[in-house]
């Protein structure tokens, strides 16, 4: 259960990214966050695991106040929250295997990380996750030798090896073509349905939202302008979310 209360973020130079955002996400839900570019979707997702420090408001996750957590506690919270990014954010020069194993860092002693050491169980887990996303043969490749779709699968494997209770996906399919987009979304759906992992996913295309999401939160200029089921978004709501000049394309 994720509870977001009156979350506000003001960037330096008084750019208001989020204003008084509040909503709840029950465990196991697939929530889509939609809105125009710059509406605050990325800021919202990053405020949840405090990659961006919120200005005010609270994020309460499974009863723990994330916004008040000490650095130590924050690391323990973060390792149960997987994150998937629009630009995959893999370390290009490292091997795919190392990129996936990086997901275990929160569980491992920093001393061992210094000499690049992971336990055998970790390596087995990494192999399992790579197999799950169908690239078990790519473990020894350098991450930048993979295609975009494959890189995003590595990103998902990295998030899943954390044994997460929740996944934050920041426009995971915006840099991919529609066919690949659906294959990546299906992995997220599978994780959500089979493992019961809560998914918060910011998305651009409404057809993808309709197909995969249980519920939608729409942002416009940092405010929640809609909250409900995907099918409730009619033309009027659509114009409210995307502005009066917007046309429906998908």
């Amino acid at each position: 259960m994720l509870h977001i209360k009156n979350l506000t973020k003001v960037y330096e130079g008084s750019v208001q990214a989020l204003t008084d955002v509040s909503f709840e996400v029950p465990k196991g839900q697939f929530l889509a966050v939609i809105g125009l570019s710059g509406s605050g979707k990325s800021t919202l997702l990053r405020c949840i695991n405090r990659l961006i420090e919120p200005t005010s408001g609270q994020v309460i996750w499974n009863g723990i106040d994330v916004t008040a957590a000490s650095p130590e506690e924050l690391r323990r919270i973060r390792r149960k929250i997987g994150m998937v990014f629009q630009n995959f954010n893999l370390v290009h020069r490292s091997k795919v295997m190392t990129n996936v194993l990086a997901g275990r860092l929160g569980y491992n002693s920093p001393a061992w990380s210094l000499i690049n050491r992971f336990s055998r169980e970790d390596k087995e887990k990494a192999m399992k996750q790579l197999t799950r996303v169908g690239i078990e043969d790519k473990g020894g490749y350098r991450a930048d030798e993979l295609s975009g779709g494959q890189q995003q699968r590595v990103g998902i494997a990295r998030a899943m090896i954390q044994d997460p209770d929740m996944i934050l996906a920041d426009e995971p399919v915006a840099s991919l073509d529609p066919v690949l987009a659906h294959s990546i979304m299906r992995y997220l759906e599978q994780i959500n349905k089979e493992d019961g992992v809560t998914v918060l996913c910011s998305l651009h295309f409404l057809d993808i939202v309709h197909k995969y999401a249980n519920r939608v939160v729409a942002l416009n200029e940092g405010r929640v302008v809609f909250e409900g089921l995907p099918r409730e978004i009619d033309d009027k709501k659509f114009k409210e979310i995307y502005g009066r000049d917007a046309e429906r394309v998908g």
Partner: protein
């Protein structure tokens, strides 16, 4: 707006441009005055001659020489002709080499001198030997024997050497025999250029190792996120000197223990192996069983094991160094050609033995300060703002007082103030007041940007060190470790640390932030983020900068010898001061070849790594 600006009266514009132009001319004129530009020296014929001679010598490096055979012949001549005698030519003889020259001549007259039967191709000076000093040869020119061993020379008889005694026209022809061999200068140059290259290599190695960690402290993007509340910052500051002091004591203690036990090679080997094994297993157990939910007893046990393992590690390292020193000494006379390996074992053990105390002190300092700052963090989270502010004031006052007293002690050491009031009391009080003020001016729970402070201090120190030329640093190190290449290595190494750390940190600042963010989001701590997110991204530019720096170090070490820092520069300056331009030219050639090939090699290697 813009239109309006352009419509200003053009007169004003021209006047303004005229003033700028006049100022520029004045600037250049003053530069002429200051740099003493003057062509009158250059027009003097003596200058031209000297210049030509120097350039010709430089173009003709002294590298090879031959064994030479001399053939000399003197022909007697009277100057002026004794009364009643007319100049006559002796018969053209046969057999050995000889000169055919008039038996007497008038002062200042030019006579024809011919030589016969000299070795073809031999060459040398021809001149006049005055009666006053038969050792002296007043050289009039150079002759070379042709294919038949013959030469002709128009000999100007001197006009100030009148004498009734016999005087001589003398020729000394030299020829090369056998194969050419390297001159003494060439072998000295070879020796010194090898020294130069290795000096540069070691300096680069030292610089790379030290600047690697420093570069992270000087990278803004990493440091800007490092924030901590005043409580943990103050405890951190207090922790460093306390930890360094404790670490120094511990290391000294271990050193004494180890030296008591040191009884011979076999005992040393045994204690190194056993101690190392125990350390390995303890560390493995303590680190791998790390578990946040462990009981208090298990945690205490783990901490004890870690402490014990660290102490044992220091002890075993001391044993290892004394083992290395013993082994190096024993092997030195036995290895023959490979004696340099024994010397390496000996010297590196000696270095490790010497710096161990410093390393241990720093590590313990870091450990104590990070432990204290963690305690500070906890305290900060638990307490309510009121009492916290009081604690903050106390701790910050202590921390800043300590910091200022230490600074005062440093200044006292340098400037010998020797007045406790100025050195300790006033700075201590000022620091205390500053700390208390800081505690009351900030909110007790806010995080202060301590990372940025460290960043600025690191940057400032790096810039200051970098602005001192390595040649000048060498002066200080020559006093420290004596004249020779070692001083050069230290000077170049220090300069390399400063400049590589800056170049490296700029690379860290330009990495892609995405992967960093992703690693951070997995719950990795700062160290892990650097190892997995930063280092893979910066390896190629680091390698290329290191190569580039080696290239620069080779060039710098060629001149560092000027101040006694070893390398080829010493030889070069010596030869230039002795006006021995041909020898100096050999050194210049060697430098040019080495620099050019380093340039080529480093660019090839850089291509491969990127």
């Amino acid at each position: 707006m813009k239109e309006k600006k352009n419509n200003k009266p053009t007169v004003w514009k021209s006047v303004r441009n005229g003033i700028y132009f006049a100022l520029a001319i004045g600037f250049i004129a003053y530069a002429f005055q200051v740099t003493k530009i003057d062509l009158s020296e250059f027009r003097k014929t003596t200058r031209m001659e000297m210049w030509t001679r120097a350039l010709r010598a430089l173009a003709n490096p002294e590298i090879l020489e031959y064994e030479q055979v001399e053939t000399a012949y003197s022909s007697p001549v009277y100057l002026p002709c004794p009364e009643g005698q007319t100049p006559s030519l002796p018969e053209v003889g046969f057999g050995g080499p000889h000169l055919v020259a008039p038996t007497c001549g008038a002062l200042g007259e030019t006579v024809v001198v011919e030589g016969f039967n000299f070795t073809p191709g031999s060459t040398g000076p021809i001149g006049f030997v005055p009666s006053t000093n038969l050792e002296l040869l007043l050289i009039k020119g150079t002759v070379t024997a042709d294919e038949e061993g013959h030469f002709t020379f128009e000999f100007p008889l001197p006009n100030d050497r009148a004498s009734v005694d016999v005087q001589y026209i003398r020729v000394v022809l030299r020829e090369n025999v056998g194969a050419p061999f390297f001159t003494e200068n060439a072998s000295a140059t070879w020796e010194k250029i090898v020294e130069t290259v290795f000096m540069a290599f070691l300096a680069t190695l030292i610089g790379t190792i030290l600047s690697f960690p420093i570069s992270f402290l000087a990278a803004r993007n990493l440091m800007v996120n490092v924030k901590s509340p005043l409580t943990s910052m103050a405890l951190n500051i207090i922790g460093w000197p306390v930890g360094i002091f404790a670490g120094g004591l511990l290391a000294r203690w271990m050193m004494q223990l180890s030296s008591i036990q040191a009884g011979g090679i076999w005992l040393d080997i045994a204690s190194v192996v056993v101690g190392g094994g125990i350390v390995w297993f303890l560390l493995r157990w303590a680190l791998l069983s790390a578990d946040e939910n462990a009981s208090l007893l298990k945690r205490l046990l783990r901490i004890t094991a870690l402490l014990f393992a660290s102490l044992l590690f220091v002890y075993a390292t001391y044993d290892l160094t004394s083992l290395g020193i013993l082994a190096g000494e024993a092997l030195l006379p036995k290895l023959g050609w490979f004696a340099f390996l024994a010397n390496f074992i000996y010297q590196s053990s000696d270095i490790l033995h010497t710096i161990m105390i410093l390393v241990v002190a720093l590590i313990v300092g870091g450990a104590v300060s990070s432990l204290l700052s963690r305690i500070g963090q906890r305290t900060n989270e638990r307490l309510s703002p009121g009492p916290l502010q009081v604690i903050n004031a106390l701790l910050a006052g202590m921390a800043f007082a300590l910091l200022f007293v230490l600074l005062g002690a440093g200044i006292d050491w340098l400037y010998q103030v020797e007045n406790n009031l100025y050195v300790y009391t006033i700075p201590g009080a000022a620091g205390g007041v500053l700390g208390v003020l800081l505690a009351f001016l900030t909110k007790p729970k806010t995080s202060l940007p301590i990372g940025l402070v460290v960043y600025f201090i690191t940057r400032t120190i790096l810039n200051a060190v970098r602005s001192v030329e390595a040649v000048i640093m060498a002066i200080v190190f020559v006093i420290f470790v004596g004249i020779g290449p070692f001083a050069g290595v230290l000077a170049l190494g220090l300069h390399t640390v400063a400049s590589l750390a800056k170049l490296y940190s700029e690379q860290v600042e330009s990495i892609m932030p995405g992967p960093l963010e992703a690693i951070e989001a997995t719950g990795a701590n700062r160290l892990q983020t650097i190892v997995y997110g930063v280092i893979p991204q910066i390896i190629p530019p680091y390698i290329s900068y290191t190569m580039y720096r080696w290239d620069i170090n080779v060039r710098m070490s060629t001149i560092i010898g000027i101040t006694g820092g070893g390398g080829i520069g010493f030889l070069l300056v010596q030869n230039i001061n002795l006006l021995n331009y041909r020898a100096a030219s050999t050194q210049m050639l060697a430098i040019a070849i080495v620099v050019a090939s380093m340039d080529y090699i480093s660019s090839k290697l850089r291509e491969k790594t990127v």
